[in-house]
Every structure is written in C-alpha cells, then in structure tokens.
Amino acid sequence: MAQKNYAGHTIDVNDEGYFTDSTQWNREVAAAVAKDEGIELTDKHLAILEFLRSRHSSGDALSIRSINKSGIVDVKEFYALFPGAPLKKATKIAGIPKPSSCI
C-alpha cells in the first residue's frame, strides 16, 4: 500500500491516491489534498466534504445527483467548486473511496 504525506500527516492511499482509511482525514489534511488538485478550500467546500463523509459513513451511495440533497449547493455550483470531475475530486479530498460507477 502506498503512503503520502499531507500537512505533516502520513496517509495510506491506494494507487489512485484515494484514502484507504477515512479516519486519517482532518481539515488540514483536506486542505493539502485540495491544493494538489488545484483547489483552495473555502467553508462551502468544507461543508460539502462533511456532507459527503457523513453520507458515506451512513452507507448511502454517492452520486452527483445526491448533492442536491445536501442543501449546500446545487449540481451546477458543485461543478464550479470542484471543476472537471467534481465527485471524483471531492471524494478524494474528503478522504473517502472513489464512487464506483458500474455498467
């Protein structure tokens, strides 16, 4: 298993850089991961990250659409905050697994 250093913390990650242990996450670490992805974290970003983490820990599936239920942003704003591939980026920064898309 690979390890990475973020903000002085050693984090276990998989080969795509996603956390393999979501308990190693904290806000400082998140800020460092975000920087790698070219994103400066704001309170809005953090609120979304917390939303994704709590959904993940309660076992609910994550989808772009579920962002509408966050009450924080809608899908369009989600794209603006995490440009490119918002769900992939946001889950990486939130320290949770990449959502699997099946066929």
Binding site: D60, A61, S63, I64, R65, S66, K69, V75, K76, F78, Y79, P83, G84, A85, S100, S101, C102, I103
Partner: protein
C-alpha cells in the same frame, strides 16, 4: 394459505412466477403477480426498430400468455408497499397481504429530469429509443434524415442495457452507409464516462471499432440542459455540442411507487443485498431485475441469472433454512457492431469483460471479437427470450460466470 406476491410482470417478475409455480406447493402457497400493463415488450428489440429491422408487431406479446396456470394475475397499478405491515395497496385501494414479496418493477426513463429535454423538439428532433413510442417515432425521423449531425447522449449512470447506446450508433453507421449518405452524416457519442465504456479492456476494443467507423466521442460530458432554440446540449461546465438529431438515453429511475413506499435511493432503486437479493432491512422482501440497486448491469440476462439464486434462497427461506445461494453479478450481453456483425461480453461483480470464447450449444461465440456469428446470437436471443427465459427455463449457460476460455490480455 400463504402468499407470495410479485410486483411487476416484466422480464424478472414473469420468469420468477414460472420458476416458483413449479417449485412451491400449490396446497400451501398461492402466487399473485401484479402489473399495470397488459402488453409485454421485448425491449432488446427496441434497438432495431429505428432502422426498420424490426416493426412494432415484432416485439409485443400479451403478458397473460407467459404467466403459468396457478398464478393469479392482477392488472392494476401498485400504489405503494407497506413493508413493515406486509401489505401492498393497489390504485383502487385494494389491499394484498404477503408472506414473501418480490419487487420486479424495473426502471423507467425520466426525461423530465433534464431541463429542456421535453421541450418543443421532443419527438421532432429529440427522441429516445428505450420506449416503444420513442423507437417507433424515431424510425420515421431517421427515414427522413438526409444528412447532418446525429448525437447519442447518455444523461447519467446507471441506465439499463449499458451497451445499447453503442449498438445504436453502430447500427446508424451501417444504415447510412447502406443509404449511401454516410459521408454527410456526423455520428457522435456524448457520454459522462471517460470513454466508450466503463471497463478498460472492453473500452479499448469498442473505441477501436468506433474509430475505424469514423464515429466521434465526447467523453466526460454531464448534460445540464437542452437548448431547443440553438439545437445544442450544454453540460454543467458550459461545454456544448450541437445536433440536428438528438437521440437521448434519459435518466433512468426506479418506479415512482418505490418512492411512495419510502424504499428507494436517490433514483428510486431499492437498496438490495448483492448476494442474497433481499431488500436491505426486510428479510421477506426480495428484489429482482432492474429495480435493484445492484452494482452490475441492468439487463435481462442479469434478471435471468439472479433468478436462479432468488429461487434457491426463497425456497430455503420458506423451509426456514439459512440462505446459501449467492449472486455473483453475472451479466452477459451481445453487442451488435453493424447490421452484420456483433461481439459478446460476459462479466460479474469482480471480473471485467475479457476476450476469449464463449462455450454454447451453438458457437463458440467470440468474446470481445467482432464476428458474424455474434450478430446471429443477438437475433437468436429473441427466440430464447420468449421461449426459454420468460418461461423460467434454463438457458444453455450457467448462472455463475465461468472463467472457462477467457484470457486476460498481457
């Protein structure tokens, strides 16, 4: 008397009614199946209708023909399930009690989820082919099409029969070649996926074919809205693609009834144990077919393979024994690649589609190979569907995926 109740008489519900009636005692168990429609559509046939290969009559039969004797059929809309009370309410407020419930209400397209999709161009220059109405209307539009930009757009995942959009575009390529106007038709697949398909080895094979046929692909495109006036689709980042004819695969959702019952996820699919096929949180409710949120394809072949597992587990549950059968996510799909050739993929939860050969009564069929025999396999599937699959008979293949004759490329 005890009751087994099946909601939905499509592929999954019908095959389950046939299997169970043969296996459970008629003296102790009655079986009831409910559906709101009297017609059974062979949905894989919808793909061929826009190109005049099949007509509407080729894909419709009466549902009743496939429900075995000893099963009561009720044609009514299901209003909702009361899972904690083991009761189901129908639209006329009639009430059905059950000891075991099987949810098989499938998935429907939900074009209303995308702003502008149902705008003034709907069924003029924008069509789906996942409904009989869409497929038939699109056939007329394609017949009159004499050049321009055709885009096939996948709205979001998951959607049923994930290879159908590719098959559509391959058939369009053949069709316009035959009409001698392929040079004036631009064919583009616009998809939220990073490539033609999700799994790497199959993606490589399929994108190779697309390139060879001059079909373009716009990946990573998550549609936000349709601009009817400007005839373009726009994604969440503001990228846009213009069209003369838009063939859409709209958002797929589970039945609205699932939402009314408070049993669905964001898209009204029922959270389901991927091995036992029980609805999570309810020991006496099973989910079969497209209605389940399983991480495998939504396909008729999957309903068939999972049906064997559901049968075994339900029989165990009836006897009060532990359930030992486990579903592996097995899926098996023919993919037509032109009006003469096809390829075949076979996979499960853990193994992506691999190349090789597929052992069959006739064949062997080539996995991830482009052959004539695979095209006929697809046409033969229609016969198997009506005569074997729906009637709950075994198909000449195993329900668990076999690694026989598959090879991982170096």
């Amino acid at each position: 008397m005890k009751h087994i109740l099946i909601l939905g008489a499509g592929t999954a519900g019908t095959l389950m009614a046939n299997k169970l009636r043969k296996k459970v005692s008629r003296r102790e168990w009655d079986i009831t199946i409910v559906d709101e429609n009297r017609e059974h559509y062979y949905q894989p046939g919808f793909l061929f209708i826009p190109f005049g290969i099949y007509k509407k009559e080729d894909v419709i039969k009466s549902k009743s023909k496939f429900i075995p004797g000893g099963v009561e059929t009720i044609f009514s809309r299901v209003e909702k399930i009361l899972p904690k009370e083991n009761r189901v309410i129908l639209e006329d407020n009639r009430e059905l009690k059950y000891d075991f419930l099987i949810i098989a209400t499938g998935t429907r397209i939900a074009p209303e989820e995308t702003p502008g999709l149902l705008g003034e161009l709907w069924f003029k220059d924008i069509f789906d082919f996942y409904t009989i109405e869409g497929a038939v209307a699109l056939a007329e539009r394609i017949k009159a099409f004499d050049g321009g930009k055709i885009i096939v757009n996948i709205t979001e995942l998951p959607f049923k029969c994930p290879v159908a959009p590719l098959e559509f575009i391959f058939l369009a390529d053949s069709y316009f070649k035959k009409r001698g106007i392929r040079d004036s038709v631009e064919l583009t697949l616009v998809t939220p996926l990073p490539g033609a398909f999700t799994k790497p080895i199959a993606t490589k094979m399929l994108s190779g074919l697309m390139e060879k046929k001059g079909i373009k692909i716009v990946p990573d495109f998550n549609i936000a809205e349709v601009d009817n006036e400007g005839k373009r689709i726009i994604d969440y980042e503001g990228k846009s693609v213009e069209f003369d004819l838009l063939v859409t695969i709209p958002t797929n959702k589970g039945a609205d009834m699932i939402e009314r019952s408070g049993m669905g996820d964001d898209l009204n699919f029922v959270p389901t144990d991927k091995h036992t096929l029980q609805a999570i949180g309810y020991d006496n409710i099973f989910v079969l077919g497209d209605a389940a949120n399983l991480p495998t394809s939504k396909a008729g072949s999957v309903a068939h393979f999972a049906g064997d597992i559901l049968e075994a587990n339900l029989l165990s549950a009836i006897k009060g024994e532990p359930m030992t059968a486990k579903f592996d996510g097995h899926a098996n799909c023919y993919i037509v690649t032109s009006d003469k050739k096809g390829t075949l993929i076979d996979f499960n939860y853990d193994t992506e589609p691999l190349p090789g050969r597929y052992p069959y009564i006739i064949g062997p069929f080539g996995l991830l190979k482009d052959t004539r025999l695979n095209y006929y396999g697809k046409l033969f599937f229609k016969w198997m569907y009506w005569n074997l699959l729906l009637r709950g008979h075994d198909l000449p293949v195993t329900s668990h995926m076999s690694m026989c004759c598959k090879k991982r490329p170096q």
